[in-house]
Symmetry: C2
Subunit: 272 residues, 2 copies
DNA sequence: CGCTACGTTGAGAACAATCAACCCCGGTGG
DNA sequence: CCACCGGGGTTGATTGTTCTCAACGTAGCG
C-alpha cells in the first residue's frame, strides 16, 4: 500500500545548483508542462529562471493518509502540492491532535524555523507534490532575490491565516467555527475555479474536528444543525452546498444570534 | 493622558533613503546607544548599515492600554519594542476579542500581508517603540538582502509560535493552557535575562483570558488551583513563582493527569 | 453480501462560561 | 492619617455548551 515514489528529475545533477551549461531543456523539464506554475511560488520566476528550479525538483506521490514527514524530523525538503490535499498537524503526548492547516493544489509546504519540522504532514487524499531539497532551494533563492520576497510574502500570509484561526479556536462557538471553516474551503477553492456554492469537503469529520478544536460528534451535529436551519444542504458528507451565503457569513462572523428557534431554523429562504 | 509622541530622528532626511553623503554620525544616531540592538533585527546589520537604519527611525511612546494602531488601519509602519509590552488582538463584531500575541522588548511588530493591519496593537504597560516607515524600510531591505533573510526568519518563527498556540487553543484544558502560558512568559523573559523561576505577568487576567480563549474567572480560578497544588506561588497577581519546573512542564504538555485529588493537590515538593 | 470505515444520533457527564457577590489594594480627598 | 472609592482579582452558584460514551445507520469494498 505504500507507494511513495521519489522520482529524480531526469535533467537534474544531484545536490549542486546546476550551472548554465547544465541547463535542462525547458520542454523536457518537469515544470514546463506544469499546470499550476502560475499559482505557486514558481510564478515569481521568469521562464529562464524556471529552468533552474526544474533542475532541482523531484516528485512525490502519496496515498490517502500516508505521511509525508513527521513532527520533529529533520527539515530537509520543501514541497508544493500539485494534486490532492494535505493536512499539517501537531500532537500532544497523549495523542490529542491539532490540525494546524489544510493544503490544496499550489500550496507551499515545509517552512521550518529550526533544523526540524515543527509539525507533521499527511495526505488527506491521494496527493502529488513537487519536492525541493532545502539546500538547493536556498542556493537558488540567493541567486534570485525575487524568490526570497515571494517566500517572505508566503510566510506573512500563512501568519495572517494562523492568527485568524486563533480567533476561531479561541473565541468562536461550534456553529461559528463550522461556518468559518466552510467559507475558508469555499474561498480557497475559488482561487482555482470560479466561486461556487458547492463546497467540497475532502477531509473526514475527525480531521475537521481536530482543525476546529471540536469532537467529531460536535462537527457532525453542527453540520446537521446548519442543514436543518437551511443554511447549507448536505448531499453527501463530503459535499456541502451553501444555501444562504450572507447568512453563513454572518454566522461565521458571530453576528447572527446562535440561538436556534423552537424549530431550530433560521428564516427559510427560497430554495433552488 | 494621551502622550503619544512621534519624535522625528534628528539626523533623518524625511521619506527618502539617505545617500552616503547624508550618513548620520553614528554616535549621535538613536541606534548607537540602543541597548537592545543585539536582540532585534538590527543585529543583522553591520555598524555601517546600522547608520542607514538610524536615519529612518523615530520613536513612539505609549501609555498603558493606549492603542498603537487598529485592525484594518493602513499598514504604514513597522515597529520594534524597546521597552514595555504590547498586545496584538483581533475582534469579532460583537466585541469578543482574541489576543493573538504579546510582545516584549526587542520584538518586531507590524508584519502585514496586504495594505492594512490584520490586527490591532495596544500597550499592555507603558511602552516605547522604534518606528520605521514601511516604504523606507523596504528600500533598505532591497539594499541589504541580509535584512530580508532576517525578516523572513522572523516571520517563520512567528508562524511556528502561532501554530503552537493553535494547539493550545484547540486541544488543551484550562490548566494546561495556563501552564503553557507561564512557560512561554518564562522562556521569553529568559532571552533577555538569566532564566528564573520568578515570572512577571504584566498583563491583566482579561488579557490572559483573551489570549488563551478563557474567561477571566477561569484564568483566576486556574491560577488559584495551581497555587493550591503547589505548582506555583502567587505573591501578587502579576508575580508568579514556579515551584516545580518539571511538573508545570508536564502539565503544559498534558502528561500529568489533570484530576486534582481530593485535596486538589499534586504531591507536595520541598519548598524554598 | 456481509464487513468495516465513517458518519449520525442520543443520553449523560464534565468543563468552562456566566451571573453575582465580595475582597483587596492603591489612590484620593477629607 | 484615615475613610472612601474604584478597578482588578477572587470566589461562589448556576447554567450551558461541548465532550464522552454508546448505539445505530450507511456506504463502499472485498
Amino acid at each position: 500500500m505504500d507507494k511513495t515514489q521519489i522520482i529524480p528529475p531526469s535533467t537534474g545533477k544531484g545536490s549542486r545548483l546546476p550551472d548554465a551549461a547544465a541547463r535542462p531543456n525547458p520542454l523536457l523539464s518537469p515544470c514546463g508542462p506544469c499546470k499550476i506554475r502560475h499559482l505557486a511560488i514558481c510564478s515569481a520566476l521568469s521562464h529562464d529562471e524556471l529552468q533552474y528550479l526544474a533542475a532541482i525538483v523531484s516528485t512525490v506521490t502519496l496515498d490517502a493518509d500516508q505521511p509525508l514527514f513527521d513532527e520533529g524530523q529533520p527539515a530537509q525538503h520543501v514541497y508544493i502540492v500539485t494534486s490532492g490535499a494535505m493536512r499539517l498537524y501537531k500532537l500532544l503526548p497523549d495523542g490529542r491532535r491539532q490540525v494546524t492547516g489544510f493544503l490544496f493544489v499550489s500550496d507551499f509546504l515545509g517552512l521550518a524555523n529550526g533544523e526540524n519540522y515543527a509539525y507533521g504532514a499527511e495526505a488527506v487524499a491521494d496527493a502529488e507534490l513537487c519536492r525541493f531539497r532545502r539546500g538547493e532551494l536556498d542556493a537558488l533563492v540567493d541567486r534570485f532575490p525575487r524568490m526570497e520576497k515571494q517566500l517572505f510574502g508566503l510566510a506573512s500570509n500563512e501568519l495572517a491565516v494562523a492568527q485568524e484561526q486563533m480567533l476561531v479556536l479561541g473565541r468562536k462557538s461550534a456553529r461559528e467555527r463550522i461556518a468559518s471553516f466552510l467559507l475558508m474551503l469555499q474561498e480557497r477553492a475559488s482561487r482555482r475555479q470560479p466561486k461556487s456554492d458547492l463546497v467540497a469537503v475532502p477531509m473526514n469529520r475527525a480531521d475537521v474536528g481536530d482543525y476546529l478544536g471540536l469532537s467529531t460528534e460536535t462537527v457532525s451535529r453542527t453540520f446537521t444543525e446548519l442543514k436543518l436551519a437551511n443554511v447549507i444542504a448536505l448531499d453527501k458528507p463530503t459535499k456541502v452546498r451553501i444555501l444562504n451565503q450572507q447568512l453563513i457569513q454572518d454566522i461565521a462572523a458571530g453576528i447572527r444570534a446562535p440561538a436556534p428557534g423552537a424549530s431550530g431554523q433560521y428564516a427559510p429562504i427560497t430554495r433552488h
